[in-house]
Point group: C2
Chain length 248, copies 2
């Protein structure tokens, strides 16, 4: 059954390859060089495979880490949708190191990577980013596993998006998401491989929406767009008065 326009969608970018350079490799020559050139401490630089590939070999799960660019694209995709701008979408990032980032409603983040990196480094350092205008909280970082986050959100359904999921398409997945009051959509924030067992155990139905391996940002763009279209239809049925609520 298609629900009314009040139903909620939450997006989790799970096991995101986002962290500052871990202490364990801070003394590696490649890191020290990069840090010196940037004139920044290693704790003030995001781990990035483009620069730290050699040093990353010492890290566990290294193939799933150090891709802040993927998170930048994925977050930007979600936060630029009318669904999010209309405050009908909540967005969380769960990182590979079990940190949870929550975002304020209608938040805008910079498209410039340098500014994004500065923002994320500040968040990992202070656990919070506040508005310069009114001190309201824009982003918050806390400890927690993927399961902790789902337990906190208490959704009716947790839908995974993965190349190993049941073959489907974005429209059908959106219909499935809108079939209950509150669905969580889960997209991986890493370059290769699949969700870990720790995430998989908290997932409900898991779908693949293409014959191609799609980038996280493309999956997010398509699913959220289809959710938005369904929502608009629902609002059509409820007449013009309600429509104004999601107008310009």
């Amino acid at each position: 059954m298609q629900q009314a326009s009040t139903s909620t969608i939450t997006l989790i970018i799970a096991e995101a390859a986002l962290e500052t350079i871990p202490d364990k490799i801070a003394r590696h020559p490649a890191i020290r060089n990069h840090s010196r050139r940037r004139q920044q401490k290693s704790s003030e630089i995001l781990l990035d495979r483009s620069y730290h590939h050699a040093a990353m070999k010492r890290l566990s799960n290294s193939w799933k880490r150090g891709r802040p660019d993927i998170i930048h694209f994925a977050l930007m995709e979600a936060l630029c949708t009318p669904l999010f701008m209309n405050m009908m979408l909540k967005v969380y990032v769960h990182t590979i190191n079990d940190k949870i980032i929550s975002t304020a409603d209608n938040l805008r983040i910079p498209k410039s990577y340098f500014r994004f990196e500065g923002l994320m480094v500040g968040l990992f350092k202070d656990n919070v980013i506040k508005s310069n205008d009114d001190e309201s909280i824009l982003m918050k970082l806390s400890d927690g596993t993927f399961t902790d986050l789902v337990d906190k959100i208490k959704p009716d359904r947790v839908i995974g998006l993965s190349t190993v999921g049941v073959q489907s398409n974005a429209q059908k997945v959106a219909e499935n998401a809108r079939d209950v009051d509150h669905s969580v959509l889960v997209v991986g924030g890493f370059a290769k491989g699949h969700f870990s067992e720790n995430v998989t155990k908290s997932l409900g139905p898991t779908y693949s929406i293409s014959n191609f391996t799609l980038e996280a940002h493309v999956v997010i763009a398509r699913i959220l767009y289809e959710c938005e279209k369904l929502l608009e239809k629902g609002i059509d049925y409820e007449g013009n008065e309600k429509r104004r609520q999601i107008g310009t």
Copy 2:
């Protein structure tokens, strides 16, 4: 009339805010500082409002320039679609300074901004990027106006996407594009304002696909996705044999 699956779609990111630092402002203190810190010549750095805002005041049309991040997101969006990966989409960038960048079929560009910048700087310097493997041309830069590019492509229809266009939606625009053998979709590669008169004169129908002002990458994601869906429908009609042509 819906055309067969052989019809072609071309995307032009027009008046793109992409260029290296112009000579005119190369001696500005802000540019010289930035250039020294990066240990690179100003001609090896992309003009970027995040860094060069103060110096950019001396440039004409400065409000429409210096946003390589926008082009990075827009290009990435297009090049990550199954439509492009299936070689059913051609992608061009026309820059604010009348340079035309053409891309090879099924090209992948880096999601890391630093690597993207390196690539673009090399392209502006050498006018070409070749594959390390087989010396084939991956990207090419040439002189030309938007009209020159359209004249070269010779499409049946040139469709503009703009907030000041006729109110429509992505699905209808895709239907309009697929209504002829070869359509060009035109999305602005700048942060604010509208297409210049030089672009507008070469546009056919121009549409707005949302009540919201959407980012270029969001417009691209939605239109190309809808084009892809129409294409799949068309191929359904033509039976399974044709379907395999756009399979995995």
